[in-house]
């Protein structure tokens, strides 16, 4: 097979033909999973909305299982595999290592995802995506996840192989680009993630087949969360890489300091996965030393790394904008940013929401004592919808607007919708995350079909605010589902019916996705970034206040008298 390349006239990127086709298929499979997961989200939200309570209990748990799996595992990982292929073969301008194996892994993933979905919708595998033992699902539920994971693992190795190819064929000089380095971080964490998954899910499959008598539930949870949590860190590494990429694409921004950004990623590689222990903080059986070392001492290095990324990305944008002359005051660079460009606005909403809503709440609940306040409440999904929906999903969706003309060679349809989508979806998700966290602070349980516990021998009177917030979850959740659904339609219609862009054609869509790169001109030093400094101080203040408010709250939970 001869390797062929094409240079995209709209972005200057070089695509290897094998890698390009694989990226398209992974992205499409991801969006299909998002579609299934999104329809399920509507079922979840309309049931947890106390005034609506759409589904029966059995159906609700089935739908929630399908929601978690299709969103968190299938959508995100399919898309991430496309990102790995892009960050290796496209950014390093080289051929893909082992393209046949790459197709094989894609099909393993696809078959696995379909198989697990079949198991879930057959109705006897409503064990949630965490599949805690001793709840038992049908064997093909576990088998599907294992096949999917093996496929993803192979693609990780293909990514590493492609790095080797690029190095030996000298398609780049010096170090790999920062975005590729971010993808490498994601890939390394993914390998640990998937290996842990195999360690625990293969015995669980055998148990469900009847070959193993028992699996200890604490052992299961401990090893499972090395998969469940670390996979979130794959997402963080990947979406941070996309933030950097979008800053570069839209503004021509250069990282403020390659050294600092890479060191931050290095801290991810070393420490981020240890934070898996924060899922077991309320479990007896594991000692405080283990909990504290894993969640506090080491994890804070990783938190620190996230704060670095959260500063250097807007900092790089500020520099690029100031070089273009937007120098007035603290924030002209931000006011004059292209707010109608969906790649930028998605990225910026993703960054702010991830930091303020996801990051602050995550550090709070990752402290052993404070964890008691919110353990197993709907605060937890509130937190991770800020990380995994606002942070990861919104960044991926924003990048997709760029991929339609560049990777799929189609003109985007309905550009007017593209302008408002990030705000519609992003801000309604901000609200969903906030009100879920509010309800959780009042104690509303997660994964519960009926918050009123109707018919239970001991009634519990919720404050009215709890019902109000679950109602708001329903309202904003519905807006998020509908706007997300329209996004899927927009992308699918554009891929099917958008104008085919010929090779020489420059115009990608009515909204220009890229601005002209700044000319460094005579500037000897890159400009200072006081605006970003102020944003960082606001963030730290919010962080400290929220953290201490929760300690205060904890101290007042039980009367001392």
């Amino acid at each position: 097979m001869a390797t062929t390349y094409r240079i995209c006239p709209r972005s200057g990127l070089q695509f290897n033909s094998d890698a390009e086709k694989l990226m398209r298929w992974h992205a499409v499979a991801g969006v299909l999973s998002l579609l299934v997961g999104g329809i399920m989200a509507l079922g979840v939200i309309l049931t947890r909305w106390p005034a609506v309570k759409l589904l029966e209990a059995d159906t609700f748990y089935m739908v929630l299982t399908a929601h978690g799996l299709n969103m968190l595992i299938f959508w995100i990982i399919f898309f991430e595999m496309a990102v790995l292929l892009f960050a290796s073969s496209t950014l390093l301008r080289c051929r893909l290592a082992m393209p046949r194996l790459a197709w094989f892994s894609f099909w393993l993933m696809a078959i696995g995802a379909v198989m697990t979905n079949i198991a879930v919708f057959q109705g006897e595998s409503s064990v949630m995506f965490t599949s805690y033992v001793p709840m038992m699902a049908k064997p093909h539920f576990y088998l599907g996840i294992i096949l999917f994971a093996v496929g993803a693992l192979l693609t990780c190795f293909i990514f590493l192989g492609t790095l080797v190819v690029a190095k030996s064929e000298k398609t780049y000089e010096g170090s790999v680009p920062l975005v590729t380095f971010g993808a490498l971080t994601a890939c390394i964490i993914a390998i640990f993630t998937i290996a842990s998954g195999a360690i625990i899910l293969i015995p669980t499959l055998l148990w469900s087949l009847g070959y193993i008598r028992e699996i200890d539930s604490l052992m299961y949870r401990t090893v499972w969360w090395a998969l469940g949590h670390s996979s979130q860190q794959v997402n963080v590494s990947a979406h941070v890489a996309i933030w950097y990429a979008i800053a570069a694409i839209v503004f021509g921004a250069k990282p403020m300091s390659e050294k600092v950004s890479r060191t931050a990623y290095f801290l991810y590689i070393l420490f981020l996965q240890l934070a898996s222990a924060h899922h077991i903080l309320s479990d007896p059986g594991l000692g405080s030393e283990w909990k504290v070392v894993n969640t506090s001492y080491f994890m804070y290095f990783a938190v620190f790394a996230s704060m670095i990324h959260g500063m250097t990305v807007p900092g790089a944008i500020e520099q690029a904008q100031r070089l273009k002359g937007y120098n007035k005051g603290l924030f002209e660079w931000l006011r004059k940013a292209p707010w109608g460009n969906p790649a930028f606005s998605s990225m910026f909403l993703s960054l702010v929401g991830f930091g303020f809503l996801g990051g602050i709440s995550g550090v709070m609940m990752g402290a052993e004592q404070l964890n008691m306040l919110i353990h197993n409440t709907i605060y937890v999904p509130g937190h991770f919808h800020a990380t995994v929906v606002i942070g990861t999903t919104l960044a991926f969706m924003g990048l997709t607007y760029f991929l339609v003309p560049v990777l799929f060679k189609r003109e985007l349809l309905f550009p007017g919708y593209a302008k408002i989508f990030p705000y519609l979806f992003g801000l309604s998700m901000y609200m969903v995350a906030l009100v879920m966290m509010g309800a959780g602070t009042l104690g509303v349980a997660r994964r519960h079909w009926d918050m009123s516990f109707a018919g239970a021998p001991m009634a519990y009177e919720w404050p009215g605010a709890a019902y109000l917030m679950m109602g708001l979850t329903g309202i904003f959740g519905t807006i998020a589902c509908v706007s997300g659904g329209l996004w899927i339609l927009q992308i699918v219609f554009s891929l099917l019916f958008g104008k085919k862009l010929e090779e020489g054609e420059k115009l990608s869509m009515p909204i220009p996705l890229t601005l002209p790169a700044p000319t460094p001109g005579g500037a000897a030093h890159p400009p200072a970034t006081p605006g970003t400094m102020v944003l960082a101080l606001i963030f730290l203040t919010a962080f400290i206040l929220y953290y201490f408010v929760n300690w205060k709250y904890l101290s007042s939970l039980w009367g001392m008298a």
């Binding site: 170090s175 790999v176 390998i191 290996a195 604490l218 590689i269 070393l270 240890l274 080491f298």
Partner: protein, 48 residues
Amino acid sequence: MADQEERIPVMQQVLDNPFLLLFLGITIPTVIYLMWGVMEIANIPVAH
């Protein structure tokens, strides 16, 4: 030739070596999280 060029700092050499990073990224959590955790669980006495 080689020593005419600028020496590459150690940290940069580490960051440029994907397989060393892979080794670190797997070993650290395996030891500190998985092995330590599993050992603690295995040491919980069984009730009679």
